[in-house]
């Protein structure tokens, strides 16, 4: 336990000390909020209004896209924080960790929790933009979504750890992640509804773990029960896999399982590592 906590705390201390990283990691979500929230909301809402004569006035695109952008921030921050494993190897510190008696599973969990915590903090910081975007969520909804953000952060950090164990250089990591992260965001329903996609793309949407993360985020933040079924349908909030509608409980379970499997992978890679 002590080992997990030590590894977690180290990554956090380093995060708060690195001002450039703190500020830099904000630029992307703000850019997306500006472009998608500000620039696209008009046309998206007109498009929606064309699709459904009734209830269209209750569709607010910014409200729809905000949880998606928070999820996107979680994805990027988690994965890039997992890159600390590669940095630790490059700067030699990983040796200090690996020759110590800490169990390998503690190293994996410590690294995962560290990255997930950093990601969750970044996500929560985005909440402070809500008043300036002309949208509102209930305080309860925001409080409820935070534990889930952390869970999603764990799963996505696990993904980052998996990449970090395969890719040896930071440059390679950044390139690979950029190639993978963008489709994961675009095909997750974070920025636009992913209903009515071509079949092959639909398959990618359904196997993309971010899809379920984004969906839970949206269900928790946007009070789904209060919006007309047609709007909910158009926003792509009713995901079906093999003809069955996916419940939120199943989605949370899937993400938790995803995190657990990845922590095992990471443990295995630390076991084999010779630093």
């Amino acid at each position: 336990m002590e080992g997990i906590f030590a590894i977690w705390q180290r990554d956090l201390t380093k995060f708060f000390r690195d001002r450039a990283r703190l500020i830099g990691s904000f630029s992307m979500p703000i850019l997306f909020l500006l472009i998608f929230g500000g620039g696209m909301s008009g046309s998206m809402e007109t498009m929606m209004a064309g699709n459904m004569p009734d209830g269209a006035e209750s569709f607010n695109y910014v409200e729809f896209v905000f949880p998606g952008i928070v999820a996107m921030t979680l994805l990027m921050t988690s994965i890039f924080s997992a890159m600390s494993v590669i940095e630790d190897k490059d700067f030699g510190y990983m040796k200090e960790i690996l020759v110590s008696p800490i169990s390998r599973v503690s190293i994996a969990i410590g690294k995962m929790l560290g990255a997930a915590t950093i990601a969750t903090i970044q996500g929560i910081l985005l909440f402070f933009l809500i008043p300036f975007l002309g949208i509102s969520y209930s305080i309860m909804a925001l409080i409820q979504v935070i534990p889930f953000m952390f869970l999603l952060g764990c799963a996505l950090s696990g993904l980052g750890l998996l990449f970090a164990s395969v890719i040896r250089s930071t440059q390679g990591f950044q390139l690979t992640v950029q190639i993978l992260v963008m489709p994961m965001i675009f095909l997750s329903g974070a920025l636009f509804p992913v209903s009515n996609m071509p079949a092959w793309m639909d398959v990618i949407v359904k196997i993309n773990p971010v899809t379920y993360g984004v969906d839970v985020m949206k269900k928790l933040m946007i009070e789904v029960d209060n919006i007309p079924a047609a709007v909910s349908e158009a926003m792509g909030l009713n995901i079906t896999v093999l003809g069955r509608e996916v419940t939120m409980f199943a989605e949370v379970l899937f993400i938790a399982g995803f995190a657990a499997v990845l922590v095992l992978f990471a443990t295995f890679s630390f076991q084999r590592a010779n630093a």
Binding site: A6, T13, F91, Y93, K95, E96, P101, S103
Partner: protein, 310 residues
Amino acid sequence: MDPVISVKDLTKKYKQTEAVKAINFEVEEGEIFGFLGPNGAGKSTTINMICTMLKPTSGSIMINGYDAKKEKDKVRASIGIIFQENTLDEKLTANENLMLHCRFYGVPKDKRQERIGEVLEIVDLVDERKQRVETFSGGMKRRLEIARGLLHYPKVLFLDEPTVGLDPQTRAHLWEYILKLKEKAGITMFLTTHYLDEAEISDRVAIMDQGEIIALDSPTSLKDQLGGDMIELSTEDNDQALREIEEKVEGADVSVEGDTIHLKVESSDAFISSFIKTLEIPITRLNIRKPTLNDVFLAFTGRKIGDAKE
């Protein structure tokens, strides 16, 4: 007393090569054990296996009574390692680095501050405790790493090229600290170094070459095995001098390196005065010395330690 490190038939095979070939040795408690060899001799592979960082192909390693293959955690807790390269977190302070180490090694909470103070005292870094490591000089970083390696009171401290990349003055200082440590803590040290003069402080030295241990003894006995003194001389015409030496000195052990002739004799005192008289070629430079570990190394491996294998 049981040896603190006991290595039996340790072998590491890679696809093409056999890096370590069934080596055997023991390290006694409290001794400084020097581990020498040219680049590519298999030193690092051996150390990595002893430190549980690399899986041996076959053979056994016991450290502090624990099996390095099966009881990795106990072995890891029993050893401290100072790696060749810097493994400090430079973004953190000295104190933070040491505190993390305490937590990794499960040093009891109430003992941590006290122990950190204690090890910083040994390496003279008490005043720098709250500074970030990135502001430290190379020598200070090394000292901090040594302090860190001692925090959990290891049975054996591994020092892998501890002075590499440091200036001669800092190197000399560092050795003072290491010797002080031996006196104070009576800790067993396993040392590798490229600077053979530094290995002289070892109680025993193992020389490794091409995956095998080719010599293992105290530095004094190893030097005695070479026998006699080394005479180094340069003359106006070395080729002529060589012919003369071979003619006049019976069973001469001569070698040439650059413009220097090396001559090994049993006792230089009796030999030298008559030798100088017999040599017709004028001598331009003459040096008589006792053999060093460098000579031992040269004699055993046929090359100097700096010459890479490849």
